[in-house]
C-alpha cells in the first residue's frame, strides 16, 4: 500500500517536472523568437544584407514556378554573359523550407507574402534550435542542464547575429540542423536503436541540404568514433550509431545536386570512410574476442590485427594516391583555409576579401558569446565527471569548434551552440551543488527529513504527512536517478539504489550556507549580465538590416534609405535587359531588388570574371570603358560613403578589387595604388589611384557638396577635386550620395569628344555648368 503510494507520488513528481519543463521550453521558444524581432520593430520587415536577397529571389522563383523548374533553373540575369545554374549550385535546404512553410500556410488559407515568410524563417528556426539544444544536453547531462543550455542558446549573440528576423540565410536553418543531427547521434549512441540511426541520417541530409558546414559533422562524428575506439570505449551501440550513418548519409548527401559526387570524391569526406573501415575491423576484433576463450584470442589477435593492418595500409595507400593525384590535394579552398589559416590570404584573395572569413579578434569572442567564454572550462570539467560517450562527444565538439572559430570569424556560429551546452552543464552543476548544500543546512528538521527521505525511499516506506520535505527533496530525486541511469544504462529500473548512493555522495559535497547563498547570488547576477548583454546585442548591434541605415546625431535620427532608392531608380528607368556592373557585393541585391542583369555577384564562383570587373574599376576611364563595353554593360553602380561617413563603401574595398584584378591581369599592380605602402586618396595619392575609374566615379562632382570635398570616411580632403568624365555620364545619385549610377556613353559621343579635345579644351562637352569643369582633365 505504502509502496504503491510512493510510486504514485514519484510518478506525480515526474509528471509535474515534465509539465514544468514543457512550459519552460515553450517560453524559451517564445524568447528565442521574440528577441530576434528587434530588427522588425526598429526598422521594418525587410530582408537583410546581401546573401538573403539571393535566397529570397530563389524562394520567389520556387513558389512561382514549382520545384521542377527550380531544379532546372538556369539564371541568365547574373554572371552575364555566363549565367548560372541555380538548381545545381545552391544549397536548397533553406529555400525549400521557406517554400514549404509558405505553401503550407497558403493552402491553409493564410495569405502571407513570400517575403514575410522569409523574414520570419530564421526566428522560427532559432526556437527549434534551442529545443534541439535542450534535447542534446538532456542526453548528455540531464534535463536541468538541458533547460539551462536551451535558455542560453535562445539568446546567444553569436547566433542572433545570423538569425534576426530578415536575416534569411543558410545558417538560420543550418544551426538547428547541426544541433539536431548531433542530438540524434547521441541518442542513437545512448540507446543503440536503428530507428534513431535512420532519423540521424535524415537529419544529416537536411543539414547537407542547408549549409556547406555539413563537412563539420561528417568530420566531427568520425573523430568522436575514433576517440571512443582509441580510449577503449567501443561498444556495439557505437557501431549502430556510426556505420548506418556513413552509408545512408553518403547516399543522401550525393542526392543534393550541389554536393553530388563530391560526397565520395573529396578529401573532406574521406575521414568518415577511413573510420568506417576502422570500426569494422574493431567490431570484428571485439566479436572474435567475444566468442573465443582469452587464450585462443591472444593467438587470434596476431592474425586479425596483422590482416587489419594490411587492409588499412592498402586502403590508406589508395587514398593517398587518390588525394595526391588531384591538384589541390582534393580540398576546396575554403576548407584548406580552415586547416591552414594563412592559406586563403596567401593564395585566394577572393576568399580573404570577405570580412567574415578573417580570423576573429579577442573582443569579438566577448561580444559574441560573452560570459559563456568563462563558463566553458567549468562545463568541460563537469563533463569529465563522469565521462560518458555523450559527454566526450560534447568535449570534442567544443574543442574543435574553438579551433575553427579561431580561424574564421564566421564559424563563431558553430562555436556558439557548443559554448551554450557547456555553460548550461556548468551552471546546472553549480546550482546543483549550491542548492543542495543550502538544503542540508536549513533548519535541522529538514536535514533529518532529508536523511529520512533518502533512507525511506530506499526502503519504500515514506512518511506521508510531511509534504514540505518531500517537496524540498524533489529536485534532488528528480535529477539524480536520471543522471545515474544514463551512466549505467543496463540497470534502468534501479531508481532506488542510485538515490541512496547520491545521498552518500551529497554529504561529501556540502558547502557552508553563506558561501553557497552568495555563490548562487553571484551566478544569478552573471546570468543577468548575460541577458542584459544579449538584449543589447540583439537590439543595437545585430539588428541593422544594412540596406537601411540609421544614425543618431544631435538633431535626431537620420535614416539613409539610399540603396533601395537606387535600386528602385534602376528598375524604373532602365530597360529590362540592361546590364549593370558593380562590385560583386551588390550583385545579389541588384538582381533581386532592381531585377537587372549583373556581371558578377556574391556567389563568386568565377574568379576571372570578378577580376575583370576589378580590373575595370582600377583602370583609367578609357580602358575601363572598353572592358565594360565588351561586357555589354550599360550602367555602372558604385557605392560611396564619403558624404555621410558610411565606412563599407567601394573606396574602402578598392584595394581588394586591385588585388583580385591583379591576380588575373598582371598589368594591375597593387604598389601603383599605394604611396609608400599606404592607401590614401588625398593629395599625396599616386596618379594611378587618382585616375582610376573607381576614384573618378566615387568623387565625381563631390566638391560641389561642401566646397572642400572632405571625405568623412577617410577623414581627409580628396586629392583631385575637379575633373570631368569623358566616357561615363552620371545618371543618378541618391539622396545621401551613397549610391551613384553612371551610364556608359555611346561610342559616337566619344569620337566627338576627341575631335573637340584636339581643337579647344575650354569648350564644354555636354553643356553642364559645373564649377571647375574648366580644370585640367588628365584624359584630355
Amino acid at each position: 500500500m505504502a509502496a504503491s503510494e510512493t510510486s504514485k507520488e514519484t510518478i506525480l513528481r515526474y509528471a509535474f517536472g515534465n509539465v514544468l519543463s514543457f512550459f519552460i521550453l515553450v517560453l524559451i521558444g517564445v524568447l528565442a523568437f521574440s528577441i530576434r524581432l528587434f530588427s522588425v520593430i526598429k526598422y521594418e520587415s525587410v530582408i537583410h544584407e546581401f546573401d538573403p536577397y539571393f535566397n529570397y529571389r530563389v524562394t520567389q522563383y520556387l513558389t512561382k514556378n514549382g520545384i521542377y523548374d527550380f531544379w532546372n533553373w538556369f539564371d541568365d540575369r547574373t554572371w552575364y554573359p555566363l549565367g548560372r545554374v541555380i538548381g545545381g549550385t545552391v544549397y536548397p535546404g533553406l529555400t525549400l523550407t521557406a517554400g514549404t512553410i509558405w505553401w503550407l500556410l497558403s493552402s491553409l488559407n493564410i495569405p502571407l507574402s513570400v517575403e514575410t515568410v522569409c523574414v520570419f524563417t530564421a526566428p522560427i528556426f532559432s526556437a527549434f534550435a534551442s529545443w534541439a539544444t535542450y534535447l542534446l544536453t538532456k542526453e548528455v547531462k540531464g534535463a536541468g542542464a538541458g533547460l539551462m543550455a536551451a535558455a542560453l542558446l535562445a539568446m546567444v549573440p553569436s547566433y542572433i547575429s545570423r538569425s534576426v528576423a530578415g536575416s534569411y540565410d543558410n545558417e538560420a536553418v543550418a544551426i538547428f540542423a547541426l544541433i539536431f543531427t548531433f542530438y540524434l547521434y547521441i541518442k542513437t549512441l545512448n540507446t543503440g536503436s536503428l530507428f534513431y540511426a535512420t532519423l540521424n541520417a535524415i537529419a544529416y541530409f537536411y543539414m547537407v541540404c542547408s549549409w556547406g558546414g555539413y563537412t563539420f559533422i561528417i568530420n566531427l562524428i568520425p573523430m568522436h568514433v575514433l576517440l571512443c575506439i582509441v580510449t577503449g570505449r567501443y561498444s556495439s551501440r557505437l557501431y549502430i550509431a556510426y556505420a548506418p550513418l556513413v552509408v545512408l548519409g553518403t547516399l543522401l548527401a550525393s542526392l543534393v545536386p550541389v554536393v553530388g559526387f563530391n560526397a565520395v570524391m573529396t578529401s573532406e569526406h574521406f575521414a568518415s570512410f577511413l573510420v568506417f573501415i576502422i570500426i569494422h575491423v574493431v567490431a570484428l576484433v571485439y566479436y572474435i574476442k567475444g566468442i573465443l576463450s582469452p587464450k585462443m584470442f591472444k593467438v587470434a589477435v596476431t592474425f586479425v590485427v596483422s590482416i587489419g593492418v594490411v587492409v588499412c595500409g592498402a586502403v590508406l595507400a589508395v587514398l593517398i594516391a587518390l588525394v595526391a593525384s588531384s591538384p589541390t590535394k582534393g580540398w576546396s579552398g575554403r576548407s584548406l583555409s580552415l586547416l591552414d589559416p594563412t592559406y586563403a590570404s596567401k593564395y585566394i584573395p577572393i576568399i580573404a576579401s570577405v570580412s567574415e572569413h578573417q580570423p576573429p579578434t579577442w573582443p569579438s569572442y566577448f561580444m559574441d558569446i560573452n560570459v559563456l567564454a568563462f563558463l566553458v572550462p567549468a562545463g568541460i570539467i563537469a563533463c569529465f565527471s563522469p565521462l560518458s560517450d555523450a559527454s566526450s562527444f560534447v568535449i570534442l565538439y567544443i574543442v574543435t569548434s574553438v579551433y575553427f572559430s579561431g580561424v574564421m570569424v564566421r564559424l563563431m556560429l558553430v562555436l556558439a551552440p557548443a559554448a551554450c551546452i557547456m555553460s548550461g552543464i556548468a551552471l546546472s552543476a553549480a546550482f546543483d551543488v549550491f542548492t543542495r548544500s543550502i538544503k542540508f543546512q536549513l533548519p535541522g528538521a529538514t536535514e533529518n527529513s532529508e536523511r529520512d527521505a533518502g533512507e525511506t525511499s530506499s526502503n519504500s516506506v515514506v512518511a506521508q504527512n510531511d509534504v514540505a520535505k518531500t517537496e524540498k527533496n524533489e529536485d534532488a530525486v528528480k535529477e539524480r536517478p536520471s543522471k545515474k541511469n544514463r551512466k549505467k544504462e543496463k540497470e534502468k529500473e534501479n531508481v532506488e539504489k542510485p538515490s541512496v548512493k547520491s545521498q552518500i555522495k551529497k554529504k561529501l559535497l556540502i558547502l557552508p550556507l553563506e558561501a553557497s547563498i552568495i555563490a548562487i547570488f553571484l551566478l544569478v547576477l552573471l546570468g543577468a549580465f548575460y541577458v542584459v548583454h544579449c538584449v543589447w546585442a540583439a537590439a543595437e548591434a545585430y539588428s541593422a538590416p544594412s540596406i537601411v541605415l540609421t544614425s543618431h546625431s544631435h538633431d535626431g535620427l537620420h535614416v539613409f534609405d539610399d540603396f533601395r532608392e537606387a535600386y528602385a531608380w534602376l528598375s524604373h528607368n532602365t530597360e529590362v535587359d540592361d546590364k549593370v556592373a558593380s562590385w560583386w557585393d551588390y550583385g545579389y541585391q541588384t538582381t533581386a531588388m532592381a531585377n537587372r542583369t549583373v556581371i558578377v555577384d556574391n556567389n563568386t564562383w568565377n574568379n576571372t570574371h570578378i577580376a575583370t570587373v576589378g580590373t575595370a574599376m582600377s583602370s583609367p576611364e578609357k580602358a575601363a570603358w572598353e572592358i565594360f563595353n565588351s561586357l555589354d554593360v550599360k550602367y555602372v553602380l558604385v557605392v560611396f560613403g564619403g558624404l555621410v561617413g558610411y565606412p563599407s563603401d567601394d573606396i574602402n574595398k578598392f584595394l581588394w578589387m586591385v588585388r583580385i584584378g591583379g591576380g588575373v591581369f598582371p598589368h594591375i599592380k597593387e604598389p601603383d595604388y599605394l604611396r609608400d605602402g599606404q592607401y590614401r586618396i588625398d593629395s599625396q595619392a599616386t596618379p594611378t589611384m587618382l585616375n582610376c575609374l573607381m576614384y573618378k566615379l566615387s568623387y565625381y562632382r563631390f566638391v560641389e557638396t561642401d566646397g572642400k570635398a572632405f571625405d568623412r570616411v577617410r577623414r581627409t580632403e580628396i586629392g583631385k577635386k575637379y575633373f570631368k568624365l569623358t566616357h561615363f555620364e552620371e545618371v543618378f545619385t541618391t539622396h545621401h550620395w551613397m549610391v551613384r549610377i553612371y551610364k556608359l556613353k555611346p561610342p559616337k559621343n566619344r569620337i566627338r569628344g576627341r575631335a573637340k579635345k584636339s581643337k579647344s579644351k575650354a569648350s564644354s562637352t555636354t553643356g553642364t555648368k559645373r564649377i571647375g569643369t574648366k580644370k585640367k582633365n588628365p584624359w584630355h
Binding site: 556495439s236 556505420a243 548506418p244 545512408l248 585462443m296 587470434a300 592474425f303
Partner: protein
C-alpha cells in the same frame, strides 16, 4: 617456428569453428545474408575495375546498396544477439521493425539515386 604458427592457426581455426557452431540458427542466417551482400559488393567492385565506372551514380548506388544492406544486417545481428547484454530489453520484433524501416529508407534513396 613456421610449424608452430600453422599449428596455432589450426587450433585457432578449430576453436573458431566450434565457437561459431554454437551460435543460434537465426544469427547464422543473418551472417549468410551479410556474407552474400559483401560478396555482391565485391563483384561490383571487380566489375567496375574491369569495365569502368561510367554511370558513376549507378555504380555508387549498387555498391552502397550492398554495403548498406550488410551494415544494417550487422546492426540487426547485434541487436537480436542474446549474448549482447546491452540490448536485453530490446524486443527482437522491435529490432526487426527498425531494420525494415532503415532498409526502406536506404532503398528509397538508392532508387532515387540510381538515375
Amino acid at each position: 617456428m613456421a610449424k608452430s604458427t600453422s599449428k596455432d592457426a589450426q587450433a585457432l581455426f578449430h576453436s573458431l569453428r566450434s565457437a561459431y557452431a554454437s551460435t543460434p540458427t537465426n544469427l547464422k542466417i543473418i551472417d549468410l545474408y551479410v556474407g552474400f551482400a559483401v560478396f555482391t559488393a565485391l563483384i561490383q567492385v571487380v566489375y567496375m575495375a574491369v569495365v569502368g565506372s561510367f554511370p558513376f551514380n549507378s555504380f555508387l548506388s549498387g555498391l552502397l546498396s550492398c554495403i548498406g544492406t550488410a551494415v544494417l544486417a550487422v546492426c540487426l545481428r547485434i541487436q537480436v544477439n542474446k549474448e549482447n547484454k546491452e540490448f536485453k530489453d530490446l524486443a527482437p520484433e522491435r529490432a526487426f521493425a527498425d531494420f525494415v524501416l532503415c532498409n526502406l529508407v536506404l532503398h528509397l534513396v538508392i532508387m532515387n539515386f540510381l538515375g
